[in-house]
Amino acid sequence: MASHLLSLLIWLPIVGAIVVLAFGRQANTARWLSLGVALLTFVVSIPLWTGYQTAVGGLQFVEHLSWIPALKANYALGADGISVALIVLTTFTSVLVVLGSWGPIETRVSQYMAAMLALEGFLIGVFAATDALLFYVFFEGMLIPMFIIIGIWGGPRRVYATLKFFIYTFLGSIFMLVGLIYLHMKTGEFSLASFAQLSLSTKEQGWLFFAFLIAFAIKVPMWPVHTWLPDAHVEAPTGGSVILAAIMLKVGGYGFIRFSLPITPDASQEYAWVVIAMSLIAIVYIGYVALVQEDMKKLIAYSSIAHMAFVTLGLFIALALVRTHGNPAGARLAVQGAMVQMISHGFVSGAMFSCIGVLYDRLHTRQIADYGGVANVMPWFAAFMVLFAMANCGLPGTSGFVGEFMVILAAFQDSPLIALVAAFTLIIGAAYTLWLVKRVVFGEVGNDKVAKMKDLDAREWIVLGAFAIAVLALGVYPKPLTDLMEPAVQQIVQSLTLAKA
């Protein structure tokens, strides 16, 4: 029997967005409706996780409908373990984002919620599409709701930030479009599987590799094309920041797995040093940049860039391990680590931005200097914030540790030097995160305004509590996640062993 679960997951939030727009004139109606839709989507996504048969592996929940016969482009969906994990991350985070936006968003609530739900639908579509054109449509389509979210509900420089965000990411992906059309010319269809089987000369692969690299490096974002992210994060409303950090950045890493590695493995190997160098620069240099930030959101934004560098590092270290060292086990570790890091960073960055949102709702400032001694007046909040901060610096027992450790371990098998540089994150990450916590949470109560702050309300408790459970569960017992993704990781590593030129 054909499963329509993925279609349901994509279209439920999008149709929900239309319903919210149509019936959400009252702010509270819009909120409850959106929460209902988001919760329902999350519930529907659970069978995806429980129903994915790891013993079988490969693409499951496959759907196939002819979309544009003239181009042989199809409405083709399917999910392997990695997709399933990212889709569940998306639906989980979306519920918390809707909850987290309950109070802070007061104007045009229905439009905000509708944009969030539409964004959720597009994101699930990106993770589920197995047709390149469909992927591209979702990949670009999600810019529209995000553009609106930052532009309407953002901070003072929101217009600058959102235009920069849109044009920057559009610039990257449109080169990918040319690459996709080129591949279509070669194969006559748009399915990712056919692209992966196509044999391409080294020169062709090189061009395609860079077309994909521009698109996904901007999305991740990697140094030096990361400059849109701090602006977008600082100006975005809390919910927008959470979605951006927790899920949209993952689309870049996901793109590397689905496009760069399988379609252009030889070029990826040849230019792996570029990506690895960019990742190491991001880990160290961006870490230092984070250290000097005075705006909390900007600090976490830079920390996101540094953490996402572990994803790209893991993926391209895997290539070196397979191809030059003949070490598929190490490669699996690297890819698995990159994937765990994606999921973990989704939880940790989402939680950190939610924490900043909680503070911002009370004092309407994000400057570190405006806070101090928050722990004295908001003990519950302080407990959560410290937990997430520990996860952000990669303390064992939290999710932040697992992925980074796996990637460093794998990197060591390739080159101890790379591992050494990457391991700097443990110091730098701890430095900027702990210093942030020290200045904001601990110490004497900073000023009168801080003294009047109230501790978490029930809604904020649920949001941060849910993130905390996820962070700890993944940190203590990551096995369900790694088991889920293992077949997909094996398949990726397997595909890396075959030269295509």
């Binding site: 544009i68 670009e140 559009f170 449109i174």
Partner: protein, 488 residues
């Protein structure tokens, strides 16, 4: 030698009906009081609708047919273009009524001139000979000159009309000159015969003559399209004409110009496709550059859209560069998408315009989302679609022409095109920014025109950009299929 075959009249049924209906409306309108002008309005729409039905009903299914010794062709391409020409002209009638009434321009001439222009476009896209092309073109452009000058008391309108007329006449002259050269080289006016008898090879005695003829034809076509560097008339005409006329000039004639270019370049001069595709590539790059760069500097929305038209023509020409039917199909698909998008964008200016207020500055759209979220969304759809953001119609049109260019081995052309598309993105986003992120100057809810047909039409037109973005396959198949139905 030339024989009259009564059966030929049946092939021209839609055109003859439209001609008859137009003449009837001309007479009826004479006896109407100004208060009864709505009769003309609905009669004109009905005439277009019946013509569209006639176009579809008798449409050739397998082979195209010709009439009057090949002067007139009725094939798949003609059918598709005519349907969309009639549709967009209908939209112009729907959108323009209230605007014209507010300005004392709600007169019978508007309808008659537009109907004659439509007839000219139908003739143009069905032309089988150089004479028919010229006839159709002049019927279209002479009507357009008069339409632009419809508001006699406006200096801007008159200036635009004069500019349009002088430059348009020059272009027609160049086109005629080119036609005369080709006639001189081949001894025939029939497009298919030109293709058959002309010796396009480089060592033919007529090579130079044909090449010069081709250059003049391309210049004439570029003028009609408004491709750079023959675009000078376009911003002034778009800006100066009453907006109800700009809707028309910005939409349907682009479809007709596509038809004309296809008939002339592929139909007659197909043997020189190597030459003309290079010329069109140059025109495309220039149009993309000038259109997109100049649009950034505009604060007037009509002028901005005029420059954006030039850039879209650049994209459209990419399809021609391919020089195969799939390339033409992509270009036709692009022309259709552009006509529908332009209709929404100009329609929105008409929606916001009131008596004594033109709403043609970008700032007039400030804070539209706070005043009327639905029409803000419609305008945003049009802008995102023009910018080529999926999942909207405009993206797929761009995809098809880019694919046509890449299939033809012109990868560099595709890369130039997307580089300018990114520049273009900026000014479309600026309009969205003004609508969504800026504070309105006037805080009251938007005073919508009472004309329900206009509002419904515009809303559907906007939604069509989204619907066709998701389900564009049937339209694409229709465009592809049209090129299979050719006259033998």
């Amino acid at each position: 030698m030339i024989q009259f075959n009564p059966a030929d009249l049946a092939t021209l049924r839609p055109e003859l009906f439209l001609l008859g209906a137009t003449c009837a409306i001309l007479l009826i309108d004479l006896f109407l009081k100004p208060a009864q002008r709505n009769v003309t309005h609905w009669l004109s729409l009905a005439a277009l609708a019946v013509t569209a039905v006639l176009v579809c009903c008798g449409a050739p299914q397998e082979h195209g047919v010709t009439a009057f010794n090949g002067m007139f062709i009725r094939d798949g391409v003609a059918t598709v273009l005519k349907v969309f020409v009639l549709l967009t002209t209908g939209l112009v009638f729907l959108y323009g009524r209230g605007y014209l009434r507010d300005r004392g321009l709600f007169i019978g001439e508007f309808y008659l001139l537009l109907l004659f222009a439509t007839l000219g476009m139908m003739l143009l896209v069905s032309a089988g000979s150089l004479v028919t092309i010229y006839l159709g073109l002049e019927l279209l452009t002479l009507s357009s000159y008069a339409l632009v000058a419809l508001n006699r008391d406006s200096r801007a309108s008159s200036e635009a009309a004069i500019k349009y007329f002088v430059l348009g006449a020059l272009a027609s002259g160049l086109l005629l000159y080119g036609m005369s050269m080709i006639y001189g080289a081949t001894g025939t006016l029939d497009l298919a015969r030109i293709h058959a008898v002309a010796d396009f090879s480089a060592n033919s005695p007529h090579h130079m003559l044909l090449a010069f003829g081709l250059v003049f034809l391309v210049v004439g076509i570029a003028f009609k399209f408004g491709a750079a560097p023959f675009h000078m008339w376009l911003p002034d005409v778009y800006h100066g004409a009453p907006t109800a006329i700009t809707v028309f000039i910005g939409s349907a004639p682009k479809l007709a110009a596509f038809g004309m270019a296809y008939r002339l370049l592929d139909g007659a001069m197909g043997g020189m496709s190597g030459q003309w595709s290079l010329m069109l590539a140059v025109l495309a790059v220039l149009s993309l550059a000038i259109g997109n760069l100049f649009a950034i500097a505009q604060s007037n929305l009509k002028r901005m859209l005029a420059y954006s038209t030039i850039s879209h023509i650049g994209f459209l020409l990419l399809g021609f560069v391919n020089g195969t039917t799939s390339g033409y199909a992509a270009a036709m698909f692009y022309a259709i998408s552009y006509a529908l998008m332009a209709a929404v964008a100009f329609g929105m200016i008409l929606l916001l315009a009131r008596a004594g207020f033109e709403a043609e500055e970008i700032d007039d759209f400030k804070g539209l989302n706070k005043r009327n979220p639905w029409y803000a969304a419609v305008m945003a759809l049009a802008m995102f679609s023009l910018a080529g953001v999926p999942p909207l119609f405009g993206f797929f049109a761009k995809l098809m022409v880019l694919k046509a260019a890449i299939d033809a081995g012109q990868l560099w052309l595709a890369i130039v095109a997307i580089a300018f598309a990114i520049i273009g993105l900026f000014y479309y986003l600026r309009v969205v920014k003004v609508i969504y992120f800026d504070e309105p100057q006037d805080h009251g809810p938007l005073a919508l025109p009472k004309d329900l047909a206009f509002r419904v039409g515009l809303s559907l037109n906007g939604l069509a950009l989204l619907v066709l973005g998701v389900a564009w396959s049937p339209l694409l198949e229709w465009c592809y299929g049209a090129f299979a139905i050719v006259a033998k």
